[in-house]
Structure formats: C-alpha cells, structure tokens
Amino acid sequence: MRSRALTTFAALAGTSVLALAGCGGGTASAPAADIAAQPEFSGTLSILTKFAGEPLDPYFENLAAEYRKAHPEVRIELIQETDQSIKDKLKTLTASNALPDIYFTWTGNWAENYVRGGRAADLSKVIGPDTEWGRTFGKASLDAFSFDGKYYGIPLYNNGKFMGYNKAAFAKAGVKVPATFDELVRSCPTLREAGYEPIAFGNKDGWPALHYLQQLFAYNVPATTLRADFDPATAKLDDPGYLTALKQFKTVVTECTDTGTGTNGVLYTSAQEAFSSGKAAMYYQEILEFDNATAGKGLTPENFGIFPLPVPAAAAGDPKALEGSPEGYLVNAKSPRAALAIDFMKFATNAENAKTLSAPPYGQPSTVVGAVTPETSSKAVYEGIELVNKASNLAIWLDTVTVPEVADAWLAGGEALITGGMTPEKVLESVRRASASAK
C-alpha cells in the first residue's frame, strides 16, 4: 500500500513537472503588438500605475475620466499600487502571464527584463526620437528606456536625488551650503549645536542607503568601470573608488545622523517627517518628494533649498554625475489593445496633462519638453529638473540598474555598514560573491 502511494506521488510529481515544462516558452514568441494601427475605441484598457495613495492617486483617475468623455465606449481598469507593493504585483502578474495592457517600470535592469522576456512592445515606430510623439520628450528620458537601439518605454516623469535643506536652520547655525563632501561633514556638529539633527535618515527598508551609495559610486568610480560592474558577466568590482565611497557613506551616518548605528530601525517616512517638521536640517530626497516636504506646517517652500550631494575631493569618477532616472510605462507586447494603449498614453502625455502632472499637488516633473516651468511647478521642482538636465550622466538607482541578486547584496551590505556588522572591505567582498554567483 505504501509503495503504491509513493508510486502515485512520484507519478503526480512527474506529471506536474512535465506540465510546467510544457507551459514554458512564455511570451517571447508572441506576435508583436500592432502599435501603429488605428485604435479601436472600445473594450477595457487595463493600466497598472505606481500612483496609489495621496496625493497621487487622483491623477490617473482624472485622466481616465477625461479620456472616457472623448471615448465613452472605452472602459479603463486602473490598478494603483505604491512604490513598494508594485514590485510584488508586477512579478506576480508577470509569472502568471496576466500583465495589464499598460504597466509601470523603472529604468535599467528592471525594464530590460521585460524587454528581454518579450513582454514589452517595441514602440520605436511611435515614440522614437524622430517621431512626432517622440519629439515632445527630452531625448535623455527616451534613451533611458532604449535597448539595442529600440525604444520601449513611455517616460512619464523625471527624477533625481538631492540633499534638501532647511534654509532657516542653516542661517540659525551660520552654515553655508557645503561645496565639498568634507564641508558637508564639517557642517554637521555646528547644526547639531544649533539644535537640529544634521541629516534625517531612515533605512528600515534598506534602499535609502543605496541612494547615498550610488551617488558616491558615481563620484568615486569611473563611469565606464561602473557600467561594466553592473553586469555580472563583465563585473570585476575591484576599483578602489568603491571602498572610498563606502567609507564616505559610513562617515555621513556616523557624523551627521542622530540615529547612527541604529538608522536601520528608522522608517524612511519618519526621517522625511523629521525634516518637514523642522527638526532636521537636511534630508536626502527625490524630486518627487519636494512638494510633499513642504506640504506640512513645519517647513515652508521659501525655507526649502536643494543641492546635489557634494563631491568629495580628488574623486576619480564623474563629479557632474547625478543620481536619478525617469520612470515610465511599458505596453504589454501581447496586448490586443496596444494601439488603444498608445492612444491613451499620448493623451496622458499631452502638453496640458504634462503640466498638470508637474504642478502641485502631484509635483511629478513631466519628461515632456516645456512642461516644467517656474509657472507650472514649485521652485524646488523646477530647480531640481534644471540640475537633472545639466547633469553629465544620470546614475540609475542601484537597486534597479543591476541584477536583483547583486542589488540585494548591496542592500544587505549597506545595512551592515551602518550597524558596523561589516567593514567596507567585507561589504565589497560579499557583493563580488553575489555578482560571481549571478553570472
């Protein structure tokens, strides 16, 4: 009886494996979506956004309502997720072959996976830099979603990372905007004496540390070396700039945060709150957060200033590089409504909607040329976008530019560096191991 049960179990397991293997093949061989066809204005268009929660969620809801006024036969199914939840949602939908018609993406390895897997439609015919629609975007933002000379993404908004500072706190402490990394570190005790936490920092989720690290890597490691090191196939990770950057990051945590080795126990949003309530003098943040930082009662827009993380002396990388990248949307390569999806995204990125997106309360600086102006956006958002446009090179977020296994090793290493659980040398060694394993 027992042997019969085992035989049955083995047969079931074998059948299951065969069935699973039979499911293989995925969408790579799926027929290409005809994105340039005349759209049929009927049916349901599904869209997965990263705009869940206040103040962003009304943006796509309003867009959908406006679009339906012009095309009442079209139904729009919005799936709105947050920055954190969309990662799981996208992977679940991908694994179950249930991606919506239009879905959010980051740049770098994140988007590349969808392109490589045949899940993203080639949009070159409609959004290439020489097309009518393509010319409405900044070229760098289109290029961020380009792979092997083809254009896949619809960039919606730009982003960059800056040190936000409280001008009133700096004035009270008699501190000037630091021009070098050393000046930044030296300003911290003075700000602390004036009654402020110099830099608010919460690393509970791990990725905020990666944002510091990526900017410091861009300063300390030559750009060509960095690019090669992001790909496990060519990675060596032996440039001395990595160790320099890791040590500089540790210095910032030790000298400039009040939580120091306990920073991993603080939420990113708690740090944001400490800055916007006026308790902290600085906070390293994305352009997308600027309008939120001044939305409360503590920090006024007039007292809010920004500067790029100051460049360390004798840095061997690119001193004009800035961390950031646009975020955008892909069209499902298997979507039967690809042409309708393109029409909707053209509507979403027209001049009027681009300006609405760039203005408060949304404050998401559109990638559409001319949408971000001092009139349409807050002063800080406009200034941030100007600096992004002037940057010689945009360093894509460390957790999306490289493969997940390596990104995860950097994340654990950043946390260990903060607690003192690992030395910079050990962190780099663990990342090298992860990179070798991901080859």
Binding site: L20, V266, L267, S270
Partner: protein, 295 residues
C-alpha cells in the same frame, strides 16, 4: 445493493470537498516540488529542468542556514514561554479562589491574542522605534539610558525583539488552553493530594503537570510548527534586515522569489519548510495518540 447505492451517494457528497482540497491544497504542493527542480525565468517564461541543483544551492547559502537558526531560536523561546510559562501562569490563575478574578485575568491575558500579528508587529515597531519609541524613553526616564537601543535596527537585538513581541501576542492563548485543561482535572484528585499533605508546588508538579500532559504535548508541537511558519511579524517589523539577520525561512523564501527573481530556489525553500512542518505534524499525531489522559 442498497448499501452500495448508499455508499455511492455518500461518496458523491464528499467529492466536491475532495476536489476543492485536491486543487487548492495538494496540487500546489506537488506543483511547488515541480517548481523547485526548475530554473524559471518569469520574464521570458522559460523553465529549465535542473534536477536537485536548487537543493544543493541551499547547502551553500549562509542566509538559508541563519534563517533556519532563527526559526529554531523562535521555537526554543516559544516553547519556554508559550508552553512552560503559560502552563505555570494557567496554574496560578486557576489556583485563585475568586471566580471573578480568575475570569478577569483570563481575559486580560487573552486580549493580545485577539490582535492580528500584522497590527501587533506595527504596534511594536513604534514601541521599539529608536527616536520616538516609548521603550527607550522609559529606559531613559528610569536612569537606564545606557540600555536604550535601536532594537530593530541592530543585528544583535532585532531577532530577540521580534520574538519578544511574538511571545506577548501568543502567551495568553496558550494560557487559556492550559486553563481549560486544568479545569478538566477532577477536584477530588487535588483534595486527596491535600489530605496527604502535598503543598501547592507539589500538587502542581505531581497532579497538574502529569494530567495536562496531553495538552502540553499538543501545545509544544503547535508552537514548534508555528515557529517555522513565522512570516508576518518579521515582514512588518524588519523585512528580514538588517543584513538578513532576522530572516526566517518564510521571509527568505519570499525574498528569493519576489526580490531576487529566483523562483525555483524559493520553491526549494518552501519544500524544506513543508517537510519540517509535516514532520512536526506527524509527531503531533503520534504524541497526542500516546499521551491521551483518561480518568
């Protein structure tokens, strides 16, 4: 003939339930084992059969072993608090003479168990918060500021802090079950022991403990099994960090699949987890059969 018809009709009633259990419980188990033998690229959909490579990879993965270690630590501490501690507390409560006091204490101890683990995790996250959390403020107010810490932010304190929350949450439930088991013991046995000059400690050791051994065995196994299924509290409080120090098998499984895109490896971890919990469940069946107390 009538018996055969009756039996067939009986089977017909059972078939829908069997089908549901088969599709939603047993088929995923078999499928998971199938996934664990694959290298699966969710983006291209390609699935390559790699045999037991994912299981071999487990052996070389330090985070897998530290996760397993955290589950074991969870189990050991939970046994101490939720089995032996809860039994002691239940005996103390049941020895109180006033029925009103007994009822009140049972309710007080049970309340944390009525809170969901996710909510309890969030609550304790704020209690442990290094800047705003009341634990550090209380320590400072008591002149013990040197013991204040970033409880969830340090490798050395994060796992014990999560386990402590879990004990707080589960302690009352175990206590209530033990209280019920103690109430089932005939009072004549305690009376006879008292006449023989056995004191309260002796009555606990020689009467209560042996006569609740069925419940003790059951609770021990349920607690160990639960310790290997820990997920919510870790995800809410630390997400497995810092530096993977609070990963347990459940969270490492999640991270391997949903963050590192290694779904075949995640399925292998799930299979190991299944084997462990299945082993514990079999032990539970065996123990409860052997330790049945009858009077």
């Amino acid at each position: 003939m009538r018996a055969i018809v009756a039996r067939s009709l009986g089977l017909a009633w059972v078939v829908p339930a069997l089908a549901l259990v088969g599709v939603f419980v047993y088929l995923p188990l078999v499928q998971n084992f199938g996934f664990s033998t694959l290298e699966w690229d969710i983006y291209s959909g390609s699935q390559e059969y790699i045999g037991f490579d994912n299981y071999a990879k487990l052996l070389d993965d330090p985070v897998f072993w530290s996760s397993l270690g955290n589950n074991l630590l969870y189990a050991v501490i939970s046994i101490a608090f939720q089995v032996f501690g809860a039994l002691l507390l239940a005996a103390l409560i049941e020895s109180i003479r006033g029925e009103g006091w007994r009822r009140s204490l049972r309710v007080i101890y049970f309340i944390p168990s009525a809170i969901s683990l996710t909510v309890a995790g969030l609550l304790f996250y704020f209690l442990y918060e290094p800047n705003l959390g009341p634990i550090n403020h209380l320590l400072e107010a008591a002149g013990l500021g040197q013991f204040a810490a970033a409880w969830l932010g340090q490798e050395g304190t994060a796992m014990p802090a999560i386990i402590a929350m879990s004990q707080w949450q589960g302690f009352g439930y175990s206590t209530l079950l033990f209280a019920v088991a103690i109430q089932r013991i005939p009072s004549e046995i305690y009376g006879a022991a008292a006449i023989d000059g056995v004191g309260p400690v002796g009555r606990f050791v020689h009467v209560t403990v042996p006569l609740v051994r069925e419940m003790t065995g059951l609770m021990a196994i349920v607690t160990v099994s639960g310790s290997f299924q820990v997920f919510n509290e870790v995800m809410v409080m630390t997400g497995g960090g810092p530096n993977n120090s609070t990963q347990v098998l459940g969270t490492w499984l999640y991270r391997s699949g949903f963050v590192r895109n290694d779904f075949g490896y995640a399925a292998a971890i799930a299979t190991v987890l299944f084997v462990i919990t299945l082993g514990v469940a079999m032990a539970q069946l065996w123990v409860t059969r052997r330790r049945r107390v009858e009077w």
